[in-house]
Symmetry: C2
Subunit: 640 residues, 2 copies
């Protein structure tokens, strides 16, 4: 197999401009006339002019008697004026047309007797008193809505008031989404029960939602197997119906090359490969004059590629304007190197510390799926840049409301799932509050506190000499910062082994058995420090541990090695073992403390966080995860 | 009839807090489980945890052969390594699970022969090369979505990926909208033909759209006649079904009082009357523990009252957060006095002139319906203030994107419908451009230019002495500002008389006939100056004109007087006569000039406006209105 090389790769802006310039977005779709009642969110295809005046006649604004104002001019309480009912004063209800020759409506005390021949007026009224005049609300022929305006609820009301029960709007562009990939299982077939092992296709659902939000009408086709014949047939059929075609997982270099060939054969490939990351393998083309977009399959790539190319196309066809996201100057929590020549998009969480908004990149090691929904903002590293520098201000596109940033406590440090839980229950207690958390590890967290980039951190650094946690490291890194070490939990650390423990591993001593292959964590990791301490404590030589030099950077990676049979045992957490169905042999609990500077401790938001830590609901949720001991949760172990 | 007086009137904030505190918004509605495919926009009722890991097994990321990486470690091009197919190397397709005991996938040149017994490897691969490991994308048990999160397209994808094909969400609050008013005609009965003379009910459609946008599920009931028995019956029925009830046109002091009595009788009135304008007659109460809101009937009042009270209630029940509108400092184009003790909401259009954003209030004289959809921003005058001062900065809530402000040319001056048309065609030419126009009259416009608050103005000031237009006034008001007078149109001015001209009015001289009653414009109006000039020119004494002293402030008001038979004739415009079906006797055309400072003239946006003025499409649209002569359109009559 030969890897496909891209056509000349283009910059994002160039690719978008060249592609969009191929279409007359404003005139491609004929307008359609629809009922005003369902027109909310649509875009007017022509100016709408009022078909009538409102009120269409002079109308009583109250219940009373219509009179000629001039006939009341000399009335006083001393010399009231009597008007003959049916001749000078005409009973009238609100909203009814006043008789010709009258110009005011009065409410009189004796109007309660409808049989009376006369009404008595004791004060003059002025012309048009209590009368809604012709055209007061709307003048016939006046412009109600300009062309190209999105119809809001108020605009719907204005149209109906003006007599336009139907309105000419831009047609919704029909966007046919074609997922490809022989190996994929449709999410339509997923049920709540045990899912199959095949990777599932869900990007089409994401794309369909984005199409709707951009102003289009999505339709998801069945998954197309990876070959040019199938794809060509589906495209041919879609072409009759679609205004836009999106092929998902398409245009990947390598095996996906048949998508490029299919589009090139049926029409024209305009752009293949864009210098953006993620999103590089984007394909932009035309078939039968209609736009076709090949979107990369990885969900984050798919979304970024969609936003850059599909969204402006669809919005343009729909006559909608894409409102650019608001931006804000932020300070990266760490250096973010980037490849020159590529526009890189980095998803971040945001929170304000002092006068800076701190942007923590979503950790790359983190599962991709949850990170889909976590970013607060997007950093764009231009193609000419080599990356962003720690603490150096840069503009971020906001994915949340800017007010929401103020509710965030910035956590940078060693991560644990129970930090995420803290976030959940914090939000539950007060929806304005949340955590912006960055996985910077123990030392990274302490350095961030020193540089004023975080509200608090967490650490589980064991000092084998003093047999204590964290204190020694704080004395080294943060000698002068008043702070408290507040325990969040003791975490169970132990040996992860295959289900059923086939090698019958019981203690740390089993690691040196000749038939036991281990996998280790990297130098500096808290768990590695612990392992080395335990080996030494039991007088075991690391060189006798088979696989001691095989290092992984996360608990999950260690667990994966065990699960796949590459190793028999690895040190790690209960939660990682549980996630992969491994057996777990507890060795020793580890203290996981929050590191909280005094200024944060006095922040009312942090006090609420402390309440959450102590709450029954939080502690029950942590207990349900297993592997945690909360006996000291909230206890201040040390302060300086 | 006795006018109803409100219960103690409350401030907006107080009323909202007292009302909302009566409900446990987060727990009133039970959650419901729905398909993830339709969950976009809904709010999670509980955290969602991943039901599986993704990938669920180690999977090939490419098509190739699964191998144990260690078996390739010593391969070089000089000494390639051969692996036995079926024993050491296993053919595998993308997305399939790699066999136990393998940890990498390689693509080899000779893989094109599937029958071969051996494959040849000429370079080592590392463990996990081309393998998507268990949990790379998602770790089983990990939190996918927190509670209380709005489900975006990305979140939908994350849920499906995590195996959650169904999701527990907050129920949509069912909001029953009950329009009242015996005089009203339902918009559901409106057709495209000649509408009836009865006022139509369309506020319920506006409210339904706003309910949807706030996160609720609206249902519009039939219009209820104005009596307590009918309303009570409808409320009783709605109560079984609704989570929130909105009575529209309700709670008006006066005849609407029965709504207050109905709510008080069936439940409890918590607030009646709020010190806000518009929106004062709001009623907030409970029936059977469920919220009921009486919304004033005037559309602008209805919307403002909805935003203050109904929107936070509905969003709260739905678990959605209302994002506060962005704000911006603006400079009012004129003084805006306000009644102390009332919170006043003033709708404005916005545009930037120099470094100031100018806010022009929508003219109150303007038809109410079109003005529903025109505001760019909202000024809020606090209860303790006596109003806003011209040019003194104040925060405006933005109803448009802040970028849109930059595209606006600020027009302050004497208004004409063909200015609105200019706006329409300007938008058509370039959707980023538009006019922000304020109706300040001739002098107001010239003063705004002097104070740098407008890009351009328009004037039709006739000077009877020199028999020219505008020049003399500019020399007086703007003696030193380099500018041009550019004609937009000559406008037909004439006499408006009843249809068929029953009094046989032919010339200005007919105004002094004893059987002819006139109506006049106010002092200073351009048309008044013209009338006085014409009377003098023909030697006619104004005191001989019956009704000369009866003044109206707009062309439409004059036309309305004629239409209703209060007057036989009034001077005015062709468009006003046409709107009310009056006959029109042309007297003399009037020059309507744009007043354009040099700096504006050189602005590229204004150059586009000039192109629009000269365009065939604009000129045809103006001609279609009737009453305009475009022979000099674009001609520069004078410059200084």
């Amino acid at each position: 197999m030969k890897r496909h090389t891209y056509m000349q790769m283009m910059s994002v802006t160039e690719a978008r401009e060249i592609f969009l310039s191929r279409f007359e977005l404003n005139n491609m779709l004929p307008p359609e006339e629809i009922s005003t009642m369902v027109a909310r969110g649509r875009v007017t295809a022509a100016p709408v002019w009022a078909r009538r005046s409102l009120p269409a006649t002079h109308q009583a604004a109250v219940d009373g008697f219509a009179v000629l104002a001039a006939s009341t001019f000399w009335a006083t309480p001393e010399q009231p004026k009597s008007l003959a009912v049916g001749e000078e004063a005409f009973p009238i209800n609100t909203g009814h047309t006043i008789p010709r020759g009258t110009d005011a409506v009065i409410i009189v005390e004796n109007s309660s007797n409808p049989k009376a021949d006369l009404i008595t007026v004791d004060a003059p009224v002025f012309p048009w008193h209590n009368v809604r005049r012709i055209g007061d609300d709307l003048v016939g022929g006046e412009m109600v809505l300009p062309k190209g305006m999105e119809i809001t609820p108020l605009a719907q009301g204005a149209l109906l008031a003006a007599g336009s029960t139907r309105v000419a709007v831009r047609r919704l562009p029909k966007v046919i989404i074609i997922p490809t990939g022989s190996e994929l299982e449709s999410t339509a077939n997923l049920d709540g029960d045990l899912p199959s092992d095949r990777p599932s296709e869900f990007s089409s659902v994401i794309l369909a939602g984005l199409v709707t939000e951009a102003g289009g009408l999505p339709e998801i086709k069945a998954i197309v197997p990876d070959n040019i014949t199938c794809l060509t047939a589906v495209l041919k059929k879609a072409l009759a119906d679609a205004d836009v075609m999106i092929i998902n997982a398409g245009s990947l270099a390598g095996t996906g090359n048949y998508i490029y060939r299919a589009v090139a054969k049926m029409g024209e490939v305009v752009v293949h490969g864009v210098s953006m990351m993620p999103g590089k393998p984007t394909l932009l083309g035309l078939i039968g004059g209609k736009p076709v977009i090949g979107i990369p399959d990885y969900p984050i790539s798919a979304v970024l590629s969609f936003e850059q190319f599909a969204a402006p196309l669809i919005a343009g066809l729909a006559g909608k304007r894409l409102v650019p996201r608001p931006t804000l100057m932020v300070h990266p929590a760490q250096n973010l190197p980037s490849k020159p020549g590529m526009t890189e998009f980095i998803r971040v969480t945001l929170g304000r510390v002092g006068d800076k908004v701190i942007a923590s990149p979503l950790p790359r090691g983190e599962g991709v799926i949850p990170s889909l929904v976590r970013p607060d903002g997007l950093l764009v590293v231009p193609a000419l840049s080599e990356g962003l520098e720690e603490d150096r201000p840069v503009a971020a596109e906001l994915l949340i409301a800017s007010e929401d940033i103020e509710g965030a406590l910035v956590f940078l440090g060693s991560h644990d799932n129970i930090i995420d839980l803290l976030d959940t229950f914090l939000k539950r207690r007060d929806p304005r509050l949340r955590l912006s958390s960055g996985h910077l590890g123990n030392q990274g967290g302490l350095l961030s506190l020193r540089q004023g980039r975080a509200h608090f951190s967490a650490s589980h650094l064991f000092d084998p000499e003093t047999k204590t946690y964290n204190t020694r490291y704080i004395l080294r890194y943060l000698p002068r910062l008043p702070l408290k070490l507040i325990n969040l939990a003791w975490r169970e650390r132990g040996l992860m082994v295959a289900e059923g423990n086939p090698k019958n591993i019981r203690t740390i001593k089993d690691l040196i058995r000749p038939d036991v292959r281990s996998v280790n964590r990297q130098q500096g990791a808290g768990t590695r420090v612990l392992l080395d301490y335990l080996l030494e404590k039991h007088g075991l030589d690391p060189s006798m541990v088979q696989g001691y030099e095989r290092e992984e950077k996360t608990h999950m990676a260690v667990a994966v090695n065990v699960h796949s049979g590459i190793a028999d045992v690895g040190i790690g957490t209960f939660s990682a073992a549980k996630a992969l169905g491994l057996d777990f042999i507890p060795l020793t609990p580890e203290r996981y403390d929050l590191v909280v500077p005094e200024s944060t401790f006095n922040d009312p938001r942090f006090q609420i966080l402390l309440e959450v830590m102590h709450s029954q609901e939080y502690q029950e949720a942590v207990a349900a995860l297993g592997g945690y001991d909360l006996k000291d949760c909230g206890k201040i172990f040390w302060e300086q």
